[in-house]
Point group: C2
Chain length 260, copies 2
């Protein structure tokens, strides 16, 4: 992070420009730098790392955040980050990207499905230190404001100390009341996954449709996972990387080269 | 893989049920087991790991592949895999998932943007050995049929030998004529990325729109990358994993725990 200027902080999310979690994040971050908000114009949960190739994108300035520069976009969370970097802020250096605060947890493998985490991942691919924040409560009526100081303290830490060996943090906060949070734990991603149960029904014309439902199942009883930290009342912080190579399978796979 | 029965092979893609690359993959795989095709009803390039939460999904049986069981779905590639596992094949065990053959390469970080690779990743998260195939030619008129035997040989190898320490392979084949391919290399994911150049224009009502364009840039001059293998005329095989934890940053990040 450049020391002699106010950091430029890009803020985005996947719940959309009007989500209350986005306001909490903007308010938590604004003491640390100059904020520019670029967020989807509609909810984009589950959009993962999707990008828009088949139709044009539009950006409109909005006044949701008073005197803070803010835009809504008809693309995915990743589109928002790409447009911010390549169009809106193309002549400036983004020092930090914050995504969230997501309504609902993004632990374990959910980093792949989550628009919140994919937006942060996209910025990190560009070398920008990035943080995705989530609070473990899906209900729209949840009040995230009391967690703002904690979010702000984490942002301040990252601005002051930087990030070594990673450009991306996945941070989940348990919705148990700030006063009940026991601490912060640096964790690994749990081996946990969704067990889908599609709801099948008929539409008014009698045609079958399916709607995804499911429960999240933790298969990982080992130590130091994000799931365990949250269950025990801790904030989980998983440092992430984007190299998906499974290096440990190189030796056993080598014989496949002899096919040709 | 179960030894005493014909393997059940799920085949999907992101270019859609009518894509010629899907036909090549089905034809290459059918000698190795029983095929069930579940593919999107429209092109889904760039959909990454997106899932459909906000509208219902439909599945229709199609006869695109003669006597092979095949369905089209109005969801994303990942939706197709989830519906195959949880609805269409819920009482059976899928032995292998094949995705592709994608029109255009999916090297380096493109595994995150690619619907082809995300479908294979989704199956691998469920413990199913999975392979994504891509050939480095975007043009719809490209003829992938001559590459079918090579694809088939790779599928046969994986069925016979299994996969150790990974459930997912990202395989890219250079479109240089089968006779010119020099061999197969097990590789790591290159540090390469897209440099976006949004095309800005005005619609008939004078409103500005942006359309993503860009060039792929390789920043990785180290050995053993997928980009290097393809440039030198080799098939690249990157074994992949889904644990994104950046373990090497645990020590330096530990002090963040003292915030609370």
């Amino acid at each position: 992070m450049t020391k002699n200027k106010k950091p430029l902080i890009l803020v985005t999310n996947d719940d959309g420009i009007t989500a209350s979690g986005l306001k909490v994040l903007v308010n938590a971050a604004k003491k640390w730098g100059e904020i520019v908000v670029v967020a989807p114009d509609s909810p984009q949960s589950g959009q993962g790392h999707a990008i828009t190739l088949n139709h044009p994108l539009r950006i409109y300035e909005v006044d949701e955040f008073g005197d803070i520069e803010a835009y809504k976009c008809n693309g995915t969370p990743v589109d928002c980050v790409k447009l911010a970097k390549s169009v809106l802020l193309k002549d400036r250096e983004i020092d930090l990207c914050l995504s969230g605060v997501n309504h609902g947890s993004n632990v374990a493998i959910n980093i792949l499905y989550s628009g919140t985490m994919s937006a942060a991942m996209e910025a990190s691919l560009e070398g920008i230190p990035s943080i995705g924040f989530s609070i473990t409560e899906f209900l729209p009526g949840a009040n995230f404001e009391p967690y703002g100081n904690l979010v702000s303290d984490i942002v301040g830490y990252v601005i002051e100390k930087g990030m070594e060996h990673t450009k991306l943090l996945n941070i989940n906060i348990p919705y148990i009341g700030v006063e009940n949070i026991k601490g912060i734990k640096v964790c690994r991603q749990a081996e946990a996954n969704w067990k889908e149960e599609y709801i099948a029904n008929n539409d008014p014309l009698g045609r079958t449709y399916y709607w995804m439902s499911g429960v999240f199942e933790n298969y990982d009883n080992g130590p130091d996972t994000d799931v365990e930290a949250l269950e025990n009342g801790y904030v989980s912080i998983v440092p992430c990387e984007h190299d998906l190579t499974a290096y440990k399978s190189f030796v056993s796979l080598k014989s496949i080269e002899s096919i040709l």
